[in-house]
Structures are given as C-alpha cells and as structure tokens.
C-alpha cells in the first residue's frame, strides 16, 4: 500500500484537545508525524500585555487547564523574582502543598486518560476520577473553586488554609495511596495492558534531550532530572522525596513514573503539613484582616502572626528588568519569561510549555508505532493542548 498522509483531527474523539495530527502511514505503520497546533490559540501572551500583573493570574490558570495551580504559582514566582519580593514561609508552604496536590490531581487525570485510550478499561477510569474528586474537594475548601482557582497572589496566597484542611487532606492522601496499590495491580497484572504499552513509542535519551523534552517523559527515558532537586524553588529543599525514573522510555515506563510520582507528591504534602510554619491552623486570620496587608517587622513576628502575604504595594509596578523562572510542572519544565518596563502592565510575557517541546519530539516516538497506538502515545505524554497553544 502506498504511503500516505492521514489526518487525525481536528475533529476526532481521541485526540485529547483540539489539534490536527498528520501522520504518514504505510499501511498500519507510522513513518512520520507532523502535528498542526494552534486551534485553541487564545493569545494569552498578547492578552497579558494589556492586563495588570494581578489581572494575569486567572489567565495563567487557564494556560494549563488540567493543572491550573502550577501555572498560577509559576507566574507569581516570576513576578516575585522580578520585584525581588520575599514571600513569607507559611505562604511558601501553602503554595507547595497546593502545587503537589495539583500534580497528584493531574496525574490521576493521566490515569483516567490512559485507561480510556489504551483499551477502554472503564472501571479504573472511573476509580481514578473518584479519587480526583477527593482532591478537587480539597481545592474547593482551600480556594473556593474546583478548577481555575485564582488562588496565588503576588507576594503570597489569597487566604489561609481553613481549619478542616489538614485533617481532610490526610484522609484523602490515605485513600489515594491505598487505591494506588489497586491501580498498579489492575494494570500491571493485565497482560493486554502490558502488551499495549511495553515497547511502544520508545523515546531514546539522546532524542529526548535534543528535542528539549522534560518532565516525566524524560524521566521515563532514564534521565534522573527533576527541577525540584536540581534547582530547588519554593521550599522543596526542605523535603525528602525521590525521583522515579524509568528504564526504556516506552509507554509503560511513562505510566510507572507518573504513578510513582503520585506517591512522592503525597509524601511531600504530608511532610509539608507537618512542618508548616506559622503555628497551628486554628489561628486562622479572618479574611478582612488579611485583605488589609499585614505588615512585617524584620524577621520576627512570624510566630505570632499568621502571615500569608508579603508587603506588596497596591498597584504592582515592578522595576524595569526581566525574570525567567522555571518550575517542575506536572508535565515537565514550565517557565515564564516576563519583561517589565516599569509600568503596571508587563511588557512581554513568554510562556514555555513542556508539552510544546514534547510534541515536537512526537515523530521520534511514533516511528515504528502503529496507527492504533496513536491515542495511547498521545495520552502517554499527558498532552494538554491549552498550554501548547496558549
């Protein structure tokens, strides 16, 4: 049969977002891939140039709709580096907890997607969503929203963690960790799943690094790289957690790495909850007080006040300069490059999305795969179109 280019998309039930994957096939084997993106390009970078620094936080949420908290935290971290603001430790810990909970929720969404794409295994799919609901409930009592939280603020977070948060989080983590064992058994003991994922879509280490792939996809290739360890930001250097890596760089390893990462994130959240500074949660400061910015006097005063916000001016005008901050998002290395010209609107915001780079490496992954493998491969890199197109 002759080689031909097939279009998978843009209207397709299995492509996880709106894009057009053109693959060159010879019968059933894939020879080349040429993704066409841009269908949900909203111009977030251009929109940012017309907004306040604070007004951009909801837009940052919407940059990655499956893991909004991480993007919003990335944005405020960048602005804080621009303005050289020192965030109080309690706020940093709260952000870390929210970040890791978001990573867990995003990886559970990955479990859902994998179960659906590799073979329509409906029960694990629904179970993963059931556990994700626990996390979304946590986010609801923390921020008020289940999705698109608008929670971090430049200088801290919007409000303190509520009284029931710690107990509910610990219970949710217990449930999730026990269910993780169930998922591992369900998938590892399923021979058809192993048949579908082992040896499929192998990405070699050299190709991955050359194309700029980061995150769990890179770790599955065997490269032990995690921004939380190699360039610790926020308070990750205080915690003890591991970096799961894979061996072969195939689809199965990407699965294993992400499941292990859920466990590691749970570890981090537990440690953070135990060590959170600023005393017990019971000393909750009512919202009215928090809004009127609490002033710090030197380094003392943290033990008495429940401080979650640094002193920032009402209208945020960073000094002219630029900042490039990278974090380890659920999908890899996300970064923001913000240039400020001294006004209250950013001059340029550039967003580096991990899946953007992974997608350009797609043709290396797809060589030798079959057409039926395409949906699992796409889900295996945990694709999220909104951050690709921005």
């Amino acid at each position: 049969m002759a080689e031909m280019w097939i279009n998978m998309g843009p209207q397709h039930p299995a492509t996880h977002g709106l894009w057009d994957l053109r693959i060159k096939v010879d019968g059933d084997m894939i020879l080349d891939a040429d993704p066409q993106i841009g269908y949900i390009h909203r111009g977030i970078e251009k929109l940012g140039e017309n907004r306040n620094y604070t007004q951009f936080i909801p837009l940052a949420d919407r940059t990655g709709y499956a893991s909004p908290m991480t993007w919003a935290i990335l944005y405020v971290l960048t602005v804080e580096e621009l303005m050289d603001i020192k965030v109080p430790p309690r706020a940093t810990y709260i952000r870390t907890i929210a970040f890791e909970l978001q990573r867990m929720a995003s990886h559970l969404l990955f479990v859902y997607g994998m179960a659906e794409n590799v073979g329509a295994m409906w029960p694990p799919l629904v179970y993963a969503y059931r556990e994700r609901e626990l996390l979304l409930d946590l986010f609801q009592i923390l921020t008020g929203a289940r999705f698109h939280f608008n929670y971090p603020r430049i200088g801290g977070v919007k409000w303190d963690i509520p009284q029931t948060f710690e107990a509910q989080t610990k219970k949710a983590l217990d449930v999730i960790e026990s269910k993780l064992k169930e998922y591992e058994r369900m998938f590892d003991e399923s021979e058809i799943f192993l048949m579908r994922t082992k040896g499929v879509a192998v990405l070699r280490k050299e190709d991955a690094i050359r194309m700029g792939v980061t995150g769990p996809t890179l770790r599955a290739c065997g490269v032990k790289e995690d921004l939380r360890k190699s360039e610790p930001y926020m308070c990750y250097s205080d915690f003890d957690f591991g970096i799961p890596t894979g061996k072969n760089g195939d689809l199965y390893d990407r699965w294993v790495v992400r499941i292990a990462e859920i466990r590691e994130s749970a570890k981090i959240v537990r440690q953070a909850l135990d060590r959170i500074p600023g005393g017990a949660v019971a000393t909750k400061v009512p919202a009215a007080v928090v809004k009127s910015v609490t002033v710090l006097d030197g380094e003392t005063g943290y033990e008495d006040l429940c401080v979650i916000m640094a002193k920032v001016p009402k209208v945020i005008k960073p000094p002219p300069g630029e900042a490039y901050v990278r974090v380890e998002d659920s999908r890899g290395e996300s970064a923001m490059y913000i240039i400020s010209d001294g006004t209250e609107r950013p001059y340029r915001i550039k967003i580096r999305s991990p899946i953007f780079c992974t997608l350009s490496a797609l043709k290396y992954m797809m060589r030798g795969a079959r057409v039926a493998d395409v949906p699992p491969i796409m889900e295996g890199i945990d694709i999220l179109l909104s951050e690709v197109d921005r």
Partner: protein, 146 residues
Amino acid sequence: MSAEEVAGEMKKKFPEADVRIPRASRLTASVKKEVLLDVCSFLKDAGFDHLSSIAGVDRAENFEVAYFLWSYEKKILVTLKTAVQKENPRIQSVIKIWEGANWHEREAYDMFGIVFEGHPDLRRLLMPEDFVGHPLRKDFKLPEVE
C-alpha cells in the same frame, strides 16, 4: 565549572559579547547576531544541551531574540540575547545545534516575523496559515469589532 568559569571562557573567545552574572548559576550574554552560531556551538560543547526556550521580544528599536540554555551537569542557566533589525528581520537558525529549536523558531516567526535562515520548514505554527500580520509585534493592530 561554575558560572564564572563559563563567563571567563566566553569572554576569551568572544570579546565583544556582553557577559554578566546577575546571581548564582545565572549567566546573561548579549551577542551580535553574526557570532550567534559560534557562541551557540561553544555553549553546546560546554555542556549546555538543553534549550529551554527561544523568546522573541519587540523592543522599540529592534527585535530581540533570547535563548535560554540549561546545562544538566553544571546546573547553570544561560540567557543569550541577540538583536535583530526590524526591517526584514533575519537570523541564523540554531536548529542544527539544538533540534528542539524547531518549533520555538516557528513560533517566533509566526508571532514576530523573524525569519530563521536554515530552518527546514519555516511556516506558521499557532496562527492559521493564511493569516496576515505578526500578532505579538507592538504595532500589530487588533481588528476592530463593529
């Protein structure tokens, strides 16, 4: 090698480059676009094998292209900047050095109109193929809605 050593080597090889160390494990360098490929090859050989991103910026007098490079070994982030003129902006593509630059350069072309010479397939990435104009330029007029 620490950032100072890399900076030292760079200054030796490319004296006109403006190399600075703003803080620990961060290096900023501004180079002319003629020596861009040489600087990039040098940095790649020095161990900077991860191209984080390529950002185009529309400054008042010219375009600026910023390359963010990270070395897994040394754990240093290098910000490399070049200036490109605004009329007929052209610059060498670094795709032969870091293949991941492919899509980043396509996006810079799409958003700013900077042509990367040597790029195998320079076409629009995010905007539709028949779009006219380059959206992230400061003089790009958003279409008015009646």
